[in-house]
Symmetry: C2
Subunit: 238 residues, 2 copies
């Protein structure tokens, strides 16, 4: 079983690749035991989404063609809409979005710097891989919110996503320059560690740390399986 | 009378400052004689708006506080919505947005580089000043489109704008650090030349260049007057 957070190195078994026909998101297990209170959840989720949007904006600004800009602007629009709906949810609950995002700036900004990418292609992989992982993660974490906001937040994460648009751009780039594949595969693997770390820092742990670690393991195993399928869609080894 | 495009240097008279109560946008004169055909107009307007959005994204990424990020993300959302509606208009007319934006990349990208700004404050002034000017410009140019698209494009430019949000952020920044005022006033003046140039490159001129120059002068005089009022709102001399 994968345990990315164990201090002792363990053998990590990445789940087998599945065929392209499989759903990208599986929702067998959730994280309801580790959901912070509503305001903390929303502030964190809103700031993470803003960072995912910033990554897309960076990819947009450095895109080599207007066709790529057109696709990325659409993906950016979906991400910004998610951020806006999370902020609306904060206001609905009587909170101050800026103040609630503040505690997340240190570690989310560090995540952003670590996943910046050396060029447009790597930034695009960052957008594709980290947004896929984190939207999936927050959707599973939202299950532990009170019923009404949980339902609305689920709708937000079930909304339109730029994933297919980004996958198409990446497939095209790799098709045009097959030598990109090994570099982007390596970059995709590097992203998993930082993305898991910023996810983990979003969890509210109890007293019994060891048993908590065991309980989150299956969720992260599924999140990594979804990541593997995302990479597989591009023809890259995760 | 202002003539920024004359080769011979002429004395430029900037219109007098007006009180804050005045409307920011005057629409006495338009540019209908110089409107390119619908597809060229929409491609250019969409690419310019995408660049205004990219500037806002850059200001968002480098914003010093989550409160500033919250304001700028709203402004970015309005700008992206304008871009999207212009792209929808292209699709409505059976055009290909990416292909129609392509001819604008060289000079609009040059405009973007020239108006980049040395830090967050200058980038914010760029967002405030160039979006105000260019949205005003394209609204006046749209008057020359066929009636139906002209009406819809007018609605797009009359839509929500981040101008007041950006002005509030800048007022706050200058209030907290009054020494910023002279540097930002100078930056605001420098932006006018590049913004007028990229506007002018959006016009379709006729055979009689000299008479065309005379006919566009009053429009640019009004656009500069609006710019002066925008700077005045910040307490800066234009």
């Amino acid at each position: 079983m994968a345990n990315w957070f164990s201090r002792k190195p363990r053998r990590i078994e990445i789940p087998r690749l599945r065929s392209r026909g499989d759903d990208l998101v599986t929702t067998k297990v959730d994280l309801h035991e580790f959901t912070p209170d509503l305001m903390h959840f929303l502030g964190r989720a809103a700031y993470v989404q803003l960072t995912l949007f910033e990554n897309l904006s960076r990819a947009l600004a450095s895109a080599p063609t207007t066709a790529a800009k057109t696709s990325i602007s659409r993906a950016a629009e979906f991400s910004l809409a998610k951020h806006r709906r999370l902020v609306d949810e904060i206001q609905h609950a009587g909170g101050d979005a800026a103040a609630l995002m503040e505690p997340s700036t240190a570690d989310v900004d560090r995540f952003e710097r670590a996943t910046h990418g050396a060029d447009w292609f790597e930034t695009l992989v960052t957008c594709y891989v980290t947004a896929g992982f984190l939207d999936d993660f927050f959707a599973r974490l939202a299950v532990g919110l009170p019923a009404e906001p949980a339902r609305r937040v689920a709708t937000i994460y079930a909304g339109e996503s730029g994933e297919a648009l980004l996958a198409a751009l990446l497939e095209e780039a790799i098709g045009a320059n097959p030598r990109l594949a090994s570099r982007l595969a390596m970059w995709g693997r590097r992203l998993v560690g930082d993305t898991m770390l910023v996810s983990r820092e979003s969890l509210q742990f109890g007293e019994n740390h060891r048993s908590d670690e065991e309980r989150i393991e299956p969720v992260f195993t599924e999140l990594i399986a979804a990541h593997t399928r995302r990479m597989d869609l591009l023809g890259l080894t995760a």
